[in-house]
């Protein structure tokens, strides 16, 4: 057993939740901010969701300081690939390179592993929309809906129930859910796993990746836009069955 890796994963299980849901025309990432204080200046910069590349956006759970190092590395990896091959890095390759880096810290150097898990949502022309989850050990896997951080077990079971896994064609996204359904499901899961009474844009970060004119388009929602989303799906958010 690699205890350091287990300790890293334990640290992540106390961090703010991040949920990712794949739909046939895009991916939604929703995250809970843990450090909230009225004094925090939160309109600038994000704590949980980062753009790695023009075609990949990631949600982070765990030690933010460790995450910043990995985010920067992944940005360099993505750009070096673009420089060398002239085309954007496929999502899985970016995730694998990042995971190889994380794995190195579990085997060499006597350094501790990174205390970060990622949910990487991206699009490439070979495989379309993909959602990957990666952990401190350097393992990664592709998901239709996934959750990391606090209450991820709870969230995962709700996702398993509610996610419409109904597309038999392997080459399609694997679901008939559209972005709207995915957003609604994300709000539902958030409302059931986050323990505050009312969800506000202060506590949340949202991002979507969709296609616009055949090119991937990442949208990290502003506070006002998040308020809009919460209002739109407020029927789902009412704590009537908590």
């Amino acid at each position: 057993r690699l205890y350091q890796v287990e300790y890293a994963m334990e640290a992540i299980s106390h961090a703010g939740t991040v949920i990712g849901i794949l739909s046939k025309d895009g991916i939604v990432l929703a995250a809970e901010r843990q450090a909230t204080s009225a004094l925090l200046e939160q309109s600038v910069g994000s704590e949980k969701i980062y753009e790695m590349n023009d075609n990949v956006v990631a949600g982070v759970a765990g030690l933010t300081a460790d995450a910043n190092i990995l985010i920067n590395q992944s940005r360099m990896i993505a750009q070096r690939y673009l420089l060398r091959y002239g085309s954007p890095i496929p999502v899985e390759q970016l995730v694998r390179r990042l995971c190889d880096l994380k794995q190195g810290y579990t085997q060499f150097g006597g350094l501790r592993p990174f205390g970060v898990s990622f949910l990487c949502a991206g699009w490439d022309s070979a495989f379309g929309f993909q959602l990957y989850q990666s952990d401190p050990a350097g393992n990664y896997s592709s998901w239709k809906a996934a959750c990391i951080g606090e209450n991820s077990g709870n969230a995962q079971s709700i996702l398993k129930q509610e996610y419409k896994d109904d597309e038999a064609d392997e080459r399609a996204a694997g679901t008939s859910m559209e972005m709207d359904d995915a957003m609604r499901l994300a709000c539902l899961v958030l409302s059931k796993t986050i323990d505050t009474a009312k969800l506000t844009s202060e506590k949340l970060e949202f991002a979507t990746i969709t296609l616009k004119c055949g090119k991937p388009h990442i949208d990290v929602l502003s506070s006002a836009e998040i308020d809009g989303v919460l209002k739109k799906y407020e029927a789902v958010l009412k704590p009537s069955d908590s």
Binding site: R75, L82, G86
Partner: protein, 201 residues
């Protein structure tokens, strides 16, 4: 620097800038391509044209794209023209003793709408100008044309006419450049790109 041939010019107008290049790619006297792109958008508000050795032109365009992408993702904003030109200067000086054989010309609009142009030598010495900048094998010809034709506060359409005449007549006196030209006019509303029909020799 004279192996491939090129002509690049940028001019300042009233709340607009123009950047134009020829389209010839040669190998000494042989013309190999008549549609070679020497100017590329860096952001919506910045265009960079590179005169000089074609392989370095292509490589540097790729390198600029990489660095501007990294800047955009880290700073969560797009790069400004002046900052970009400093970055280009730095990248060129890094190769002080084995330089890229290019002479960049940068044209853009600052965030407040202010026009910006500058040019550099192959090791990154920046020349900021408030009228026009030139580069390439037809540089001397372009200097002459611009000096006579340019005047301050030209609107987008007038600027287009001015830069087009400067380009067409300058390349006609230079064997290594020409074979058509491309002109981009940057205004706060957007970019207007036009191809010029000139002497194809």
């Amino acid at each position: 620097m004279e192996y491939n041939g090129s002509a690049v010019v940028a001019m300042v107008g009233k709340n607009c800038v123009a950047i134009a290049t020829d389209k010839r790619l040669g190998q000494r006297a042989l013309t190999v391509d008549m549609g070679f792109e020497k100017v590329a958008p860096v952001t919506d508000n910045i265009y960079i044209g590179l005169a000089g050795l074609a392989t370095d032109v292509m490589t540097l365009h790729d390198r600029f794209r990489m660095r501007v992408n990294l800047y955009k993702h880290r700073e969560e904003r797009t790069i400004e023209p002046k900052t970009f030109s400093n970055m280009v200067s730095h990248m060129l000086y890094e190769r002080r003793f084995g330089p890229y054989f290019v002479e960049p010309v940068i044209a853009g609009l600052e965030k407040n709408g202010q026009p910006f142009i500058c040019s550099m030598d192959l090791i990154g010495c920046i020349n900021y100008a408030d009228d026009f900048v030139v580069a390439g094998t037809a540089a001397d010809n372009l200097f002459g044309m611009c000096e006579s034709l340019w005047e301050p506060d030209l609107g987008p359409e007038e600027l287009f006419e001015t830069v087009s005449q400067a380009m067409l007549n300058a390349v006609d006196r230079d064997s290594m450049s020409g074979w058509g030209a491309v002109v981009h006019i940057l205004t706060p509303e957007g970019v207007i790109t036009r191809e010029l029909k000139g002497r194809m020799d």
